[in-house]
């Protein structure tokens, strides 16, 4: 039975929700605002919020100094490639764990997750040396594989949770109708899990887009994505906060827009299976 909500209560809830949302969004908003200030306004005390002479100068400087499109393209390839590769590997893995569980399935899932608990820097040198040996340092291929491996436990876990919600009887029925394993996964399971797969892919894409440790350490000039683009504007000797903010805004804009348009899908996927 639905709870009775008075208009006052509803208004209070709305205000609280907006306040929480704004609080979380504030650092991004501040970055965007700073990108339109001059360097002097960016550091002025007390800080100026909205009433300043808006300027596009920082964007012009950043455009002139850096090849933004090259960084953007690298980010798209690396985040997209690692996501697609990760999902291709994770779907069969999650299928087997959800529908053909063994005594060790839970342990395997926990073990996969435990790899996320290792600090990334702990395996930096081994991976760096492997990349040198294979001649793939500063290549998009190396980052696609590394980021896929980093995010694979999360993808498997998310897909496993979604698959568990799908009644096994439907798959059994498909099998009885003569569907092969491939047909069962491709034509029966996957279409039913589309919301889950889509939100998993979106989340993984965002994680890969924002990943800064590996993308900074394994790239130089050729494969550097937008994280390296931002890092190139950070300076401990010199106040370049407005330019840094412009670079950051340009780096987060694509993913912000993607998140905005896909938020319904994302929320639906993330809450999928929450109500039993």
């Amino acid at each position: 039975m639905a709870r009775n909500v008075t208009p006052q209560r509803k208004a209070i809830n709305t205000v609280i929700a907006w306040a929480a949302g704004l609080l979380i969004f504030f650092p991004i908003l501040w970055t965007i605002l700073t990108s339109f200030k001059t360097e002097a306004q960016a550091i002025s005390s007390p800080p100026v919020f909205l009433f300043f002479d808006w300027t596009l100068e920082n964007y012009a400087v950043v455009q002139e100094r850096s090849n933004y499109m090259r960084f953007l393209w690298n980010s798209v390839i690396i985040a997209g490639g690692s996501t697609v590769l990760g999902v291709l590997i994770a779907i069969p893995a999650a299928w087997s764990m959800a529908f053909v569980p063994s005594r060790r399935t839970k342990d395997i899932l926990m073990w996969m997750l435990s790899t996320k608990m290792l600090p990334a820097v702990g395996v930096l040198y081994p991976i760096y040396l492997i990349c040198i040996e294979l001649g793939i340092l500063d290549s998009r291929a190396a980052l696609v594989v590394v980021l896929m491996l980093i995010n694979l436990p999360i993808i498997v876990w998310m897909l496993y949770t979604y698959f568990k919600e799908i009644p096994g009887e439907i798959l059994e029925a498909a099998r009885m109708d003569g569907a092969s394993l491939k047909a069962e996964i491709l034509y029966v399971l996957t279409p039913m899990a589309v919301p889950g797969i889509a939100s998993t892919m979106l989340l993984n894409f965002i994680l890969a887009w924002n990943e800064a440790f590996w993308t900074l350490n394994l790239t130089a000039a050729k494969a550097a994505p937008l994280t390296a683009f931002i890092a190139s504007y950070s300076s401990p000797e010199g106040l370049f906060y407005a330019k840094l903010s412009a670079a950051s805004t340009m780096a987060i804009a694509p993913i912000l827009i993607l998140g905005w348009f896909s938020q319904k899908q994302l929320v639906r996927g993330l809450t999928f299976g929450a109500v039993k």
Binding site: T38, E39, A40, I43, S44, S45, R65, L124, Y125, Y128, L129, I132, L137, D138, L216, N217, A220, A221, K222, A224, A228, A231, S232, Y233, S234, S235, P236, E237, G238, L239, F240
Partner: protein, 435 residues
């Protein structure tokens, strides 16, 4: 037949184009994000016009990220970079390890003898020059002439620490948010420890004695740190334990600091009317001393070096020679004016009458000349480096010591406790490293 000939000619043309493409050498340059380096990137057309067979690729990173990336690459022979931007801390260590290519064979017109002796010494190991200085810096006192006049004081060209304290007290007006002195407090070997190590030199303090025994239990270190705490707690800005170069630059530009002792490179920022509200009121003086024979200033040079694993050594040398040449200096002066020329590397620059008119030129040169990296302290020490000790372990140890000193400035512990911990952890780390 005609078809065959055409095919062969076509194939030959493709091969010729491919060969021409192969002849193109790519030089990947790892660099930091600062005004001088960015300016150089904007002027590289001059180099590529002279060397059409060389393509330049830039990797610009934040200083600490760059240091970590470059160290990782050079130690594992990753070969990702052909030119590295490194400082006077790395050059002696890496040169000794055989990680850098000697630059003794740069062309005669590059004129190695024109490099300022203090800078050249810091980049030379066993007679081999391992890096070409792009710009050099020391530290000095930047002060507000108007506040000094209001306080009825006159800044000498070479002040003492006692005078600095007297001036800081006279200029402080906390109600008006004007603080007598702004100094680095943020923890880090290149942050508060760069300042405190250099300051310690002028108080007779040193990191190690000749047997590599840590010296934080000495009276000289207690004097240094007590004086620093006294200055900062009474006349410094609030929250100084988190202030680094940029935070102090911001405070000074907004007129909140009476004095600021920091890198000479800051002079061009604080005198730039576009960003600084006090641009026309800034005076310069040498870093203070205590009459013991050493001043509290440091020496640093961002320099270009070539890693031993580079496969484009010859092209990289051409680039390094161009970027650090007298001709490059003239090119910057022509395009951007003399105030924007990379300072602190060549004697000829300071003999140039046009450069002499830049307000901070003389003080920068005097500051650099008064620092001696091979003989940094009052007592003899087994190490080189003014604001650092040129051993690989230093960065890690000094950052931890810096955290202790920063905690003392934040009021979380006393000076005695901070020094005790510094002594214990330095001794432990040095013993573990086999000293």
């Amino acid at each position: 037949m005609t078809f065959k000939i055409r095919t062969l000619m076509g194939a030959a043309a493709v091969c010729a184009i491919a060969a021409a493409a192969n002849a193109q050498t790519t030089v990947t340059i790892a660099t930091v994000n600062n005004g001088d380096m960015i300016r150089m990137q904007g002027l590289t057309e001059d180099f590529t016009a002279q060397n059409p067979d060389i393509t330049l690729e830039w990797v610009t990173l934040e200083e600490n990220v760059l240091r970590q990336r470059v160290t990782q690459d050079i130690a594992s022979k990753g070969g990702q970079f052909d030119v590295l931007t490194i400082g006077t801390y790395e050059v002696p260590i890496w040169g000794k390890q055989g990680w850098l290519v000697s630059l003794n064979d740069l062309p005669a017109e590059w004129d190695a003898d024109d490099i300022l002796p203090a800078i050249r010494n810091g980049l030379t190991v066993d007679g081999e020059l391992y890096a070409a200085p792009f710009y050099g810096e020391s530290s000095m006192v930047m002060y507000r002439k108007d506040l000094m006049e209001k306080a009825g004081l006159e800044m000498p060209e070479a002040p003492t620490w006692d005078f600095i304290k007297e001036a800081a007290a006279a200029m402080t007006d906390k109600d008006a948010e004007v603080y007598g002195i702004c100094l680095r407090g943020k923890a880090g070997w290149g942050e508060n420890m760069a300042f405190l190590t250099a300051m310690g030199n002028s108080f007779g303090a040193k990191w190690f004695d000749e047997e590599w025994t840590a010296q934080f239990d000495s009276e000289a270190w207690a004097n240094t740190l007590n004086f620093y705490m006294d200055l900062m707690t009474n006349y410094g800005p609030p929250g100084a334990s988190t202030n680094g170069f940029n935070e102090n630059l911001s405070l000074f530009q907004q007129g909140k600091c009476g004095m600021w002792i920091d890198a000479t490179v800051a002079a061009s920022f604080v005198t730039n009317p576009a960003d600084s509200t006090v641009a026309d009121q800034v005076g310069f003086a040498l870093a203070p001393d205590n009459g013991l024979g050493k001043r509290g200033n440091w020496l640093w040079a961002w320099s270009l070096a070539i890693p031993a694993g580079s496969d484009a050594t010859d092209a990289a040398k051409k680039f390094v020679a161009w970027a650090t040449s007298k001709e490059y200096t003239a090119l910057v002066a022509e395009n951007e004016g003399w105030a924007n020329v990379p300072p602190g590397t060549r004697t000829s620059l300071y003999e140039n009458p046009e450069y002499a008119q830049v307000p901070f030129a003389k003080m920068t040169l005097d500051s650099i000349n008064s620092a001696d990296p091979t003989n940094p302290t009052i007592d003899p020490v087994p190490y080189t480096g003014v604001q650092f000790v040129a051993i690989p372990e230093f960065a890690g140890i000094a950052t931890t010591v810096g955290q202790e000193f920063s905690a003392a400035l934040a009021g979380q512990q006393t000076v005695e406790q901070a020094l005790e911990k510094a002594q214990a952890l330095t001794t432990e780390e040095m013993e573990a490293a086999g000293y």
